[in-house]
Subunit: 218 residues, 2 copies
DNA sequence: AGGATCGCTGTGAGATCGCTGAGAGCCTGT
DNA sequence: ACAGGCTCTCAGCGATCTCACAGCGATCCT
């Protein structure tokens, strides 16, 4: 599990990093709010442990910025302020949990686990046309609810077509987006793979537009 | 928002009911664990505030019973026990938050709001697939209730896959979240560890998706 | 009608991918 | 210092996938 630790007190960072790494977490850290926010935005973390009092940008601001960008990564705030309103403020800014320093490592760990339990796994939309269904997340394709095994290239081709239903797609466009554009592949390869797809799907789904390319019936 | 309050101290019940009702909650209450569990099962609540020390059935038992029935209603536990292990225990039994008495009403309210905000779908405390079970709290894994010894890396890999059942997980993603991405590990290491897991679990659980990565059968 | 173009498909060679056994390096505890 | 466990690399193998090629039929144009 990738964890981001935003905290400026270096001794605490070292101690937590040691403990959390030992408990199986990959720990990255930032020592100020701006760097922390930047990392949280692009770092693909499973959770963030965030100090409130930070140089450059406070923990409150970091979590509020994240939430305003629809980033729902679980956030656990840390603070030396024990006041009840500080705690309520932190939570109301969008944090999911709040711990007051000094805290026990065991409690931090248990609270992190509770947060990770609730982490949502939003599924990408399932693409479909007729009775063909393609799920980019599970990488599964079914025809009339019967699973069909596709090779990576076949899958990529079908996915590309499914994302542009009804539109005519040229072979060059397919070579660019499904194949490696730079690889200099013979356009006939597209024809070959359309043939594979037609056979596997067993449906008149991919229509040939002579002289132009292919079109998938919506 | 419908709220269930399970608490045997009647003065506290009255005070909380008054406050929460004023803040827009519909409050039902129960004075012992058995009644509380029964109400939580059938009452369709948005959240449950649950005391630990209750007549007839403890709060720990109530939350564990709910979770074992796949009831993921958000639970906030209250307890007079301030020990760090009490708190960790409560959370690891499946509670989502834990407050120690005496607590501030403002904090309770903020934590309730944070709880209601969080993703509605939680996952069980113990991750499982087929007859494989993995407990992140105790870091133990069983196959058909027989304990299996996993190394830390094997454990991390299995945990990550179990948290994304059915999803295709690429080797790069695994290197990022289970290994330390910065360490520059050869992707073949993932293949090696998948091999170890398959051998130790002795189940066709982790499926290879050629060209993409791996998928764990739910 | 006849030629030219286009797309389809069977064949097969080469490339790619994933799995595995062996073993080196490292750390930990004795 | 030594043994044992863990992590990871490496190289070889087998299976699968990709793609070029060439022949054929369909379609289009004049």
């Amino acid at each position: 599990m990738r964890l981001l630790l935003v905290e400026d007190e270096q001794r605490l960072v070292r101690a937590l990093r040691r403990g959390l790494t030992g408990d199986g977490f990959i720990v990255e850290s930032a020592a100020d709010g701006v760097t922390g926010l930047d990392l949280a935005r692009h770092g693909d973390f499973d959770a963030v442990v965030l100090d409130v009092m930070l140089p450059r940008l406070s923990g409150y601001d970091v979590v509020r910025a994240l939430r305003s960008e629809e980033n729902w990564v679980p956030v656990l705030m840390l603070s030396a302020r024990a006041g009840e309103h500080d705690q309520a403020d932190g939570l109301d800014h969008g944090a999911d949990d709040y711990l007051t320093k000094p805290f026990s490592y065991v409690v931090l760990l248990a609270r992190l686990r509770a947060l990770l339990r609730r982490s949502p796994q939003a599924r990408p939309v399932v693409l479909s046309a007729g009775d063909i269904r393609l799920d980019p997340g599970t990488r599964r394709v079914t025809v009339d609810d019967v699973p069909v095994a596709l090779t990576p290239r076949e899958f990529g081709l079908l996915e590309y077509l499914l994302r542009r239903p009804g539109r005519v797609v040229t072979k060059v466009e397919l070579l660019d987006h499904v194949w490696d554009a730079a690889a200099g592949v013979n356009p006939n390869a597209v024809e070959v793979y359309v043939g594979y797809l037609r056979r596997k799907l067993d449906r008149p789904l991919v229509e040939t537009v002579r002289g132009m390319g292919y079109r998938l019936e919506p």
